[in-house]
């Protein structure tokens, strides 16, 4: 279980997270919806250890979330702008092996073609890059995946394919948090959908 308790974070005077609690079970796909500026991406970064919260505690399967040399984080974060989350000087083959050998099943599920390996990121489309960016995060040590608007640059069919691939990961026991602006999309694919309201989580619904 990924447990984030009493997470508080602010940017200047704006408190984006206010003692927020979040629980994500292995095998669960949770959706987080909300307009821009409500702290969704900040939460994603905090959960994956990319950003330290002002206060609060995060643990994955009973151990505090963290990483170090030779010790990948059990929670991985796929950022919104995949073109910025990829070293532009690397070829796709190296990007896929960023953390070690990539998961072959994931590569096939995401439709990542072997001939892309010799290309530079600028030679792939936004959608193809988003898939490459996601695939490298699936290591044997990855237990939870935070996907921040990763379907945004994809066409509808590719977005469905990506969600099918994520569903397959969930069946293998991975807990997945999908962040999106699209409530309908999350309703279709997630087991539960939440929203951030005044820095806390609340069940999402059409108001």
């Amino acid at each position: 279980m990924l447990k984030a308790t009493a997470i508080t974070h602010r940017f200047g005077a704006v408190k984006v997270l206010d003692h927020a609690d979040l629980f994500l079970a292995p095998g669960q796909i949770a959706g987080l919806v909300g307009p821009s500026g409500t702290g969704k991406s900040t939460l994603g970064r905090i959960l994956a250890g990319h950003l330290a919260p002002l206060s609060g505690h995060i643990e994955a399967d009973g151990a505090p979330v963290g990483f170090g040399p030779g010790r990948p984080c059990p929670v991985q974060y796929a950022p919104q702008a995949s073109e910025l989350s990829i070293d532009p000087r690397w070829r796709v083959g190296r990007i896929l092996e960023n953390g070690g050998a990539p998961d072959q099943g994931m590569l096939e599920a995401l439709g990542i073609r072997p001939e892309w390996r010799d290309r530079f990121p600028r030679e792939l489309s936004g959608g193809e890059l988003a898939r490459v960016s996601l695939a490298r995060l699936v290591l044997p040590t990855t237990r939870y995946l935070i996907c921040d608007e990763i379907t945004a640059p994809l066409d509808a069919l590719s977005a469905e394919d990506m969600m099918t691939a994520l569903r397959a990961l969930a069946r293998r026991g991975m807990g997945i948090l999908v962040i999106s602006h699209n409530y309908g999309f999350l309703r279709r694919h997630a087991d539960l959908v939440m929203q951030l309201q005044h820095g806390k989580f609340a069940p999402a619904g059409i108001a």
Binding site: F67, G68, G70, R71, P72, Q76, Y77, L84, D87, F120
Partner: protein, 289 residues
Amino acid sequence: MTETIMQQCAGAPQDMPVRRGAARRQLVRRGAVVAGILALVTAAPFLPLDPLHLNPAARGLGPSLAAPFGTDLLGRDVLARTLTALAVSAQVGLAAAAISTLIAVTLALAATFSRLAERAVGVLTELALGLPHFVLVLMVAYAAGGGMSGVILGVALTHWPRLCRVLRHEAQTVAAADYVRISRALGRSRFWVARYHLAPHLLPQVVVGFVLIFPHAILHEAGLSFIGLGIEPHLPSIGVMLADSLRGLMAGHWWVAVFPGLGLVFLALSFEVFGESLRRAADPVDGGA
């Protein structure tokens, strides 16, 4: 209008490889010119040329088949002196550019260690940039006792700030990039990040910086030698030759100034344009890394 834009959009992807191929060919051509110049100036001391040989019988002769660049007021062969002087300039340029680049890289990397180091390097860089450039070169060269080592030190100690600023900015950008955070979260060490993220970003800048400092160095060498603070007067150097040429020019001997001057301009310019091509090729957006 719409059609034009659409045509442009449709044409762009096909044009890009052509443009990139042309840029690469240009880089190879300019690189070949630079390599040729370096080969020539390296070979100059071994050629059957004597830049110091005095021939009172052939003083102040214009260009001819026997002496294509003419002779100076002491009857020395201007071609032999120009080639030897360019060899000296190239040595000074390479040594000064190498030391300058080393200082820039060391300070830029030191700046990534802590916020305090970052600020200290920043202040030092801005301070060095704020001081009048040539006056500083003069002072260091003078303090170092002049001569070849004085020129090299003078140029090396004054030409690192611009490159250092570029490298520091590049290192900061890479260190703050999402892909570095992701690599760390995927279990990669700081050393691994430096090897696979930082080095590939900095290396092209370092090479380009080195190549672009080179023409500055040789122009400063000529300037310092011209006013008597550079290469010792008995050695052939472009600056010394140009200073000597003033008397020749008054006597109408244009070749004693024009040929060494053109040699210097050609040497400096070829490195400048090669550096520019290299910079474009190293840019992952503009060129093709």
